[in-house]
Assembly symmetry: C2
Homo-oligomer: 342 residues x 2
């Protein structure tokens, strides 16, 4: 197509072509002020003509940096929720943007936790300069221990007491409380929580829900937890089962949008009108929530900002700074699934 001169594959080749030493080429391509303007230009031009791109493996070895960040998702086996989860994949997408923009590569790993030393293995292989862990899952202890290793990492998840590693995430307690209070304001009094508190984030959301109920108006029913993993199937079944118990309720606060959507489906197919008979509020703010019927009221997490923060905090840790955890506020997005007025 374009007349491509025989391509230079190594820096030495390029140096020969340019009639200079490889060190000069290296510096030229690195935009070092040590090499003269005209020479630098010539080398850069030559490089692009010959389709030369620095071999990153060699560069990494020598410089000790990999220009790569690992993103790892520990998936508690019981909750078979995968990258498939729209929330995770949305976060992933934002992370990809952010990491790419900072000039890094993104190495994606899945970890299925009944696995020893996953963190140490990951860290020791030195395939990346730092690690972003998405969701604490059941691995809080591992992460606490990892904080003593010298490998930089940050975690998306919940803020726990006595935590010694850097976490970025929504203020789950306040956010959940906000969501529940919204239901209370609308006059709902028997609000059910659906979710599985095995993961810290969900547990915190449950706490926020409890707090809201505890401060609710007279007649507010006590907390009820319907246990359901974060998968559509699990949530659907759990909702049906709860319906079969016959216990009355007029609202659902779901630990995630995926759960909420599945719960809505279970309710609908049982002939229950949403929001007239049962109002539903989710958590996460996934795109699809706006497009199910009825559209889902939810507590949005700001993933754009979350991803940005994860990456910048990690890069700062890599640079040697000590960084603090960040708690972001959630945002209530009101849509059809909980009627505006009773």
């Amino acid at each position: 197509m374009n007349s491509k001169p025989k391509s230079a594959t190594t820096m030495a080749d390029l140096a020969r072509l340019a009639g200079v030493h490889v060190s000069t080429v290296s510096r030229a391509l690195a935009d070092s002020p040590l090499v003269e303007q005209s020479v630098r230009k010539r080398i850069i031009k030559l490089a692009s003509q010959h389709g030369y791109v620095v071999n990153s493996t060699a560069r990494n070895l020598r410089s000790g940096r990999t220009q790569t960040l690992s993103v790892v998702i520990p998936l508690a086996h019981e909750l078979g929720q995968g990258l498939t989860d729209p929330f995770f994949s949305s976060l992933l997408s934002h992370l990809a943007d952010e990491i790419t923009e900072k000039g890094y590569g993104m190495l994606l790993q899945k970890v299925v936790p009944p696995m020893d030393h996953w963190f140490d293995q990951l860290a020791a292989a030195r395939r990346s300069d730092g690690i972003i862990v998405i969701g604490q899952s059941t691995e809080h202890k591992v992460l606490q221990a990892a904080a003593y290793s010298e490998v930089p990492f940050v975690v998306w998840g919940g803020h726990l007491r006595g935590q010694n590693y850097c976490v970025v995430g929504t203020d789950n307690v306040s956010a959940a409380r906000m969501a529940t209070e919204h239901l209370l304001r609308l006059g709902r009094r028997r609000i059910v929580f659906i979710g599985d508190p095995v993961s810290p984030e969900i547990k915190l959301r449950y706490e926020g829900y409890e707090q809201a109920l505890a401060h609710g108006p007279a007649g507010t029913a006590k907390p009820v937890m319907v246990k359901a993993h974060l998968t559509p199937d699990a949530a659907y079944q759990a909702t049906l089962e709860h319906l079969r118990t016959g216990r009355k309720f007029d609202a659902v606060f779901a630990a995630s949008d995926v759960i909420a959507i599945s719960a809505m489906r279970a309710l609908s197919s049982s002939g229950i009108a949403i929001p007239e008979q049962v109002a539903v509020v989710g958590f996460d703010g996934i795109d699809l929530g706006a497009h199910v019927h009825p559209a889902l009221t939810t507590l949005r997490q700001d993933l754009t900002r979350g991803a940005k923060l994860l990456v910048t905090q990690l890069l700062r840790r890599i640079a040697g700074e000590t960084v603090e955890s960040v708690k972001m506020p959630g945002e209530l997005v009101v849509r059809e699934s909980c009627g505006e007025s009773r």
Copy 2:
């Protein structure tokens, strides 16, 4: 916590500890038959005691392999569909499983196509042993050209005439035809296609749709295409707009499940009953389809198998074999969104 001996960070350290030469350590860890059983065991034990893991950068440089596969998603800018798309992320998830299982790392990249030489850049940096391109998007020409480069890659997407690179994907034409014929069998005659044929896969689906209509029973209306990008918003708006034209239709064949779900929402909110007045069939078989209301009839693509094939074909190409494209059959999954009988 666990009494960890001062960790050996380099192979030389470990060799010193074991009282052998580094080459012996290298061989021992690589399970080479050249090193004696007892020695090998001792070294392996020592390595795990000291938390030693081979530095993969160094290994890669020396051996010329990176043990990493790139996964890249070219995102045509106009269709702002991202990793967020449940279909993509599901495929991604399966790929992650498969790649990990084969002992490779997965390097994820996003490419926003009005970008020159993205493939060559990717290829030349040699960060991975091969590339999996998800979706041809608008980049068919680039891929055709890339086929002449020596970098192994495979593509998930549609099978086009004269294509000289390896593609794995569903037989879009047949599958779409199957879906449309199902609607015809149910007595629907005015079937609308929603989607954007700018990407080859969608175009092929449209062709299948056309074929089905061409062979449909008397009274079958001519093809109608409602253009909509693959995002929820776009599909929602496009559906509403089509409704405003007042043109009658009794079924929708959507180019993807995401489109289908958004279309259903648009229909529902316009007071149209699904499936009584308008039946809907999607394409992809994303999980969520089973959990919207009404549950979505769709044409499922076998992503588990797809991911497996992509990886094995790529690894074979890396090994130097020449590999053929693979066309997989789609599977019609009948659910509520198109009534069983008219």
